[in-house]
């Protein structure tokens, strides 16, 4: 092969076949950095992780750990409630932001802030707001009612709800903007024609907006599902999995086991999520590689 390369350099206008080879050599050389990264930091860790999770006993231990069961249920609640509430609000707000008003334009610039700033400081800010003694929420409750407010993050149900709230707060702007792009792509003529026919807002949504947006909406929901499964920060930084490890989700549970030095459990807890994750991942990959 080396001969072909040096040959093609010396002869001007080399034959097609040898030029292709040079190109292919370059192609492989330029692809090599990514392949190296992929082998060293994806293939090896995943293989090593699966090897660590090979023992069936760890799955039995996992199944018998009440914290795991609780985390699995929490994950399901987080997904079902979090994603549907978020996507429905995003769909609604995308209609709001599609209105042509200068102040709405300004509001949309502010609205993107939760997505633009890193999550750590804002989640910690919410955590302080909810502090039972010093947090601003309970101070206001005390000021107006004279009663002590609830101990927000000490009740697992409330704490999980708050974590879902934080998740929605952070990712709502992103999905609203994506759905807004979808809405703005719909031809305005359709709405004008329907107005002539005397359609009300619900009919406009039902027969024009929704049919042109449903594919986008479903894709967004699926993608959001994958990303929500991997949302570590919202739970970990707000509740830390507490109280009494009752608000863990699958993405924080692995880290909990890691910190307790139960590595095979950590890997097993990730492996059991794969039947849910992999079909979604495969579907999204097919969708994008077209």
């Amino acid at each position: 092969m080396a001969i072909t390369i040096s040959g093609s350099d010396s002869i001007p206008g080399p034959p097609l076949s040898s030029r292709l080879t040079t190109q292919q050599v370059w192609g492989i050389a330029l692809l090599a950095p990514y392949l190296l990264v992929f082998l060293a930091f994806v293939v090896y860790p995943v293989g090593y992780g699966l090897w660590l999770a090979r023992n069936p006993a760890s799955y039995v231990a996992l199944y018998n750990d009440p914290i795991f069961t609780r985390a699995a249920v929490n994950t399901l609640i987080f997904l079902v409630v979090g994603i549907n509430v978020k996507m429905l609000i995003a769909l609604f707000l995308s209609g709001f932001f599609a209105q042509q008003r200068p102040w709405i334009k300004w509001l949309s610039v502010i609205f993107i802030l939760p997505w633009a700033v890193p999550s750590i400081p804002t989640i910690l800010s919410v955590r302080f707001m909810l502090n039972p003694e010093w947090g601003v929420v309970n101070q206001l409750i005390f000021k107006f009612t004279g009663d002590d407010g609830p101990n927000w993050l000490n009740d697992p149900a409330v704490a999980l709800a708050m974590a879902i709230g934080v998740h929605i707060w952070k990712s709502l702007p992103f999905w609203t903007l994506i759905l807004l792009t979808g809405r703005l792509a719909i031809s305005h003529d359709l709405y004008e024609a329907s107005e002539v026919d005397g359609a009300n807002w619900w009919q406009k949504f039902r027969f024009i907006t929704w049919p042109s947006m449903q594919t986008l909406y479903v894709t967004c929901t699926l993608l959001s599902m994958i990303w929500t499964l991997g949302d570590f920060n919202s739970v970990y930084l707000l509740t830390g999995g507490g109280p009494a490890d009752l608000t863990h989700v699958l993405s924080t549970l692995g880290i909990r086991y890691l910190r307790l030095d139960q590595l095979s459990l950590a890997m097993a807890s990730i492996v059991v999520a794969m039947p849910l994750v992999l079909p979604l991942v495969y579907f999204m990959m097919k969708r994008l590689s077209r």
């Binding site: 209105q99 609205f111 707001m129 570590f232």
Partner: protein, 283 residues
């Protein structure tokens, strides 16, 4: 002047009825952080909506590292900056080369690599964290900045390659043919034709990777642990370890930490929202 009709007023009122709650919902956590940052310690917990004596004292304490928790603030700021920029540069290099190879040179198996990359893009990073932590330990890279940089490159490259491939597929193939006809080598084609034409996408992808690395918390706190090695978000998380952590200083540091990415985000907004992300959910 024509007075607005009753109906117009009604529509406007309805819009405001949505707009005001949206504004409050968005701003509360951020305003709360800002309020703490400009409040002296004794005002911070008063529950007022504006401090009686607003001050920049907290910023001074942070900048001069005058608190136990902040003694390494500048070195941590530096760590965050170096790691974010290195991850951005390396991602750009890896992804541009790969996208050029797959899209322009049509390297055999390129489509396959693209699919593999996309597959990793969709696996949530939190699930890869535990095996990645062990792997870095095996490589002897724990507590070394390279571990975080390489982890960030791994996470950022798949999406970067995909975006760059989409963009470069749109460049006409005649360009390459003409350049090759004029005797350009592959490397010249890459340097003189491809990279200049791809500039807008490269800026977008570079920004994406830098922000991703700057904002990362989970990997940073797993892979780095020494006080002088960690990045700002890990330092912020460490504040929580103590019961008597100074909230007003934590919020001030958080505010300072949040400013650069927000500024970058707004500066590159037109790349960040429309161009970068709409593609991911194209119907």
């Amino acid at each position: 002047m024509k007075l607005p009709s009753l109906r117009e007023v009604g529509t406007e009122a309805k819009l405001l009825l949505i707009g005001i709650p949206v504004f409050i919902w968005t701003m509360v956590p951020i305003y709360h952080m800002f309020l703490f940052a400009i409040s002296p310690k004794e005002d911070a917990f008063s529950g007022k909506l504006w401090p009686a004596h607003p001050t920049f004292k907290n910023f001074e304490i942070v900048f001069y590292q005058q608190h136990y928790f902040l003694r390494d603030f500048w070195i941590q700021f530096w760590n965050s900056t170096v790691i974010a920029l290195a991850a951005g540069a390396l991602t750009l290099f890896v992804a541009t080369a790969a996208a050029f190879s797959i899209s322009r040179l049509k390297v055999p198996g390129g489509r396959w690599v693209m699919n593999l990359a996309l597959f990793t893009y969709f696996i949530p990073a939190a699930f890869l964290a535990v095996p990645m932590y062990r792997t870095m330990g095996n490589y002897g890279l724990l507590n070394n900045h390279w571990s975080l940089i390489l982890a960030m490159v791994t996470i950022a490259s798949p999406y970067a390659i995909w975006v760059l491939k989409q963009a470069s597929d749109k460049l006409p193939v005649e360009l390459d043919e003409a350049a090759t006809m004029d005797g350009a080598t592959t490397l010249q084609l890459f340097r003189l034709v491809y990279v200049p034409l791809m500039m807008p996408s490269l800026v977008a992808i570079g920004t994406y990777a830098v922000l991703l690395a700057w904002n990362e918390y989970l990997y940073a706190f797993l892979l780095l642990s020494k006080d002088t090695d960690i990045t700002l978000p890990v330092a912020l998380g460490n504040f929580l370890a103590a019961d008597d952590s100074p909230w007003e200083l934590l919020m001030t540091t958080g505010f300072i930490y949040a400013l650069p990415p927000a500024a970058v985000y707004y500066a590159f907004k037109r790349y960040m929202v429309g161009g970068l992300t709409a593609g991911a959910v194209k119907s």
